[in-house]
Amino acid sequence: MTKQLTLTIDGVQVTVPEGTLVVDAAKMAGIDIPVFCYHPKMEPAGNCRMCLVEVGRPVIDRATGQAVMENGQPKIQFMPKLETACTNTVSEGMVVLTQTEKVTEGRKGTLEFLLTSHPLDCPICDKGGECPLQNLTVEHGPGKSRFLYDEKQHLAKHVPLGELIWLDRERCIQCARCIRFQDEIVGEAVLGFEARGRMTQIISLSEPGFDSVFSGNTSDICPVGALTTADFRFGARPWELKASASICSQCPVGCNTTFNTRREAKAGGEIVIKRVMPRQNEEVNEIWMCDKGRFAYHYAESAQRLVKPTVRQAKASWTDAFDLVTQTFEASKSDVVVLASGRLSNEDLFNLKSLADGLGGKSILYTDMGGGNLTAQVGVGQGTDLGKLGKGDTILVVASDLYEEAPVWYLRVKQAADRGATLIVANSRHTKLERFARYAIRYANGDEVKTVADLQGDSKIAQEFANAQNAVVFFGSDGLGLNGSANLAAACAKLLQDTKHVGKANNGLIGVWQRANDQGAWEMGFRPEADLASAFKNKIVYIVGADPAGDDPALALALKGARFIVVQDILETLTTHMADVVLPAQAYTEREGTYTSGERRVQRFYAAVPVHGEAKADFAIAGEIGRRLGLNTENGSAMVTFDRLAASVKDFAGLDTNKLAEVKPQWPIVGRGDLYYGGTTYENKQGLGVQLSTAAERGEAVSLPEVRAESALRPREDQLLAVPVTKLYDRGQTVASTELLTQRIGEPTVSLHPETAKRLGVAAGGRVSLAFNGLSAEALVKIDDTISAGVVLVPRSMGLAVREPVSVQVLGLAEAKVS
């Protein structure tokens, strides 16, 4: 254990671990030392000079090594100058003074210096009200400026660093928090300073500007209003905002978030969401979130929202809709097929499963990724915290591009590697995480299973994995479909099981699922189905939270074979257009519920805004249908549904809303009065969630499937193999309606090996046509020399329905058509 040291700060005795900075020690003792450049998540920089304090240390007698005493007290020698609390680590017997006249003078001086170059636009500044510079100026600042305002340097005030983040050059105080965040924490130095001295200014030369999916975080930690998001800029004043806790619904990480809302004239006096902010959960997202989570919430306010049920495409009352659905289900019972996606909450899925089971029908998970039955057995154990992984631990990421699929996991894994964990990145192509990997394995498409199996040999990597103190495996569906990913999952599970990296915290398997609550869907008993067309044939299909027709023309065709279609969703889609009955569902911003993250943490979200039209919560709709069919399903309260779920789903046993709401002290301390310390991230007062135990952990028998030799189709010489990959910003329903992201979503673009492109006569930016599965489409071309010459990478949810590796015919198009 780290040595503990005791020091005195303003007369208060504090005992902290060796290596703690004075500024953090003070914070632990409840004493706020103002900072601008220091941020507890980053290495100290010591450049703003705001945290000046007096520091004294006991005088040690060289001969005896003992403290020299004076009047029965250790004699303290104070440093002649003020010291920065953010760069000095504590020592035994240290005395720190933060309230003396000398300190106050020092703070005043620093503030005055900062203000000589700062504009006086607090009344129109987005940070006004939560700005430490403003607060400290009120506290310490000079009443009148001694600096001649005419001599102030005038700089540009509206500089887009990209479409998402704007910079006000006059407000910037050169603390470099944003630059250091991008460099140290994210590992993408897309922000920098240009010039020097008083001319020092932020620049971003990336293409597109500020090219990072973590850019929004910089506006949270910017201690002034220099960096603002395009979404929130001039949108509202912080003190008008209400905060409600939520969980991000975009990916399986499950970032804890806060919706800031207010009643708005522009919205006809309605309460609307003004911004999404991270909420601290050190074991999940720390105090960060990605830009997709931050900006893509707008789909819930889309004009395409369904507000009223329809029957045969005509507006209908809920009663009529329920009647028709119930009659149809009643009449067909076991012919009912429920197709639901991981966009739904645990409660929704529980009720839907109960309904399907009650009817003797089928329940299908709408996904192209398998393996979810394994995470309940050998998933990561309770108490897992990627933030604890470091030296001696190993993380394998296989067939997943975490940066694009689950950005905050990318961040956490990258940081674990920074702390010394062995990172193995295995993929058929280069991904961003590879830069931080100790071992980068590039396999041929189709060799996924073999690659993982080889990690059980005598190679150095295999040994390192086997001998790791802790080992976590992230597997995904990069380049794979349902079967391929299921095979891969089996191989990964075997690797973990055989090397005894199961059944305990920080060990086990994590699925990088395609939707936020796929894990929850597996837990509720939903299973995917490879052949959806047969599953639909002549059936009564109840589709919830999914748009198969929009995703894949083949599925649209397959749906035509169904006898009756009920679609329950929040937005109008191609699938709702095919429905006999459409049931409008509430967005997750309008209701409460729980999600289960990829790490199998059950977390609760709350309603932030009023319900759109007549929409109802998915669990309530399913519950109501169930009741009408004589099943005992809950149709009123999400949390009652949760309690029922906990009582019947084994892994959830013992859970209740109180458990989900438990919090414990977290470090660093954020969100208190001194917003400068940890930025404007929200403190978590609503609950850190509960991680489910695994079968391995409970000592139950683990039964793993046979590992197949080959993962998936592999490229053949005379053909190109189209393999699906995931893009963070795609045309999926939950992203596309956010205008701000349109540019980042871009055109459908496929990647080709340079030689393949040459053979097809296309260059980067050129166009190709692709023909597969009887369909054809066009796309732009990107060149990637890290992929095999036999494949073409096709992004998911961009209008090219490649759900698993498939042979394609690709032709180069001479003329670049503008779409």
Partner: protein, 168 residues
């Protein structure tokens, strides 16, 4: 054309100076190389160097911005940088600069009509005992000219002019 294609020997020599895992160290010498022909660092050169060293263009640009001997815009073929810092100024540097500008008919910061010379005032160049003095920064690197007079400077400019013609 990339720097590595244009100046393979120089690039290799530069890269050999630093441990391979710290190739970022090569950014400063590479920037001098990039500046050799145009007198400033072009956008393409920023990209090229960033790629070579596996850092971002923003990183490279922030180096260009920090150091005063790198330039991000075109000026005269030669930058004539007169030291007007305290020690030189105590020996008449300010007057020398003013007279020189008067003779050339341009202000500090401006370029002669033929595009040959840009006059700049700079801080101490470590030649304080040989004021007035200046350095020229041009295609052939940086050279010192010490104990100067306006006449001697005008002669130098003539020489640079004809040298330029010969080259062309």
């Amino acid at each position: 054309m990339s720097l590595a294609q244009k100046y393979p020997n120089e690039v290799n020599q530069i890269m050999a100076k630093y441990p391979p895992e710290h190739k970022r160290s090569a950014v400063m010498p590479l920037l001098y190389l990039a500046q050799r022909e145009e007198g400033y660092v072009t956008k393409d050169a920023l990209k090229d160097i960033a790629q070579m060293l596996d850092i971002t263009e923003t990183d490279v640009a922030s180096i260009v911005g920090f150091y005063s001997l790198y330039h991000d815009h075109k000026a005269g073929k030669y930058r004539m940088q007169v030291c007007t810092d305290l020690p030189c100024a105590l020996r008449g540097a300010d007057k020398f600069l003013a007279d020189l500008c008067g003779n050339l008919g341009i202000q500090v910061g401006e370029t002669t009509a033929d595009g040959l010379i840009t006059i700049e005032a700079v801080t101490c160049l470590a030649a304080c005992d040989k004021a007035p003095m200046f350095q020229t920064q041009g295609p052939d690197g940086i050279k010192y000219h010490e104990n100067m007079t306006v006449d001697k400077t005008l002669e130098l400019i003539e020489a640079l002019k004809s040298a330029g013609k010969e080259v062309k």
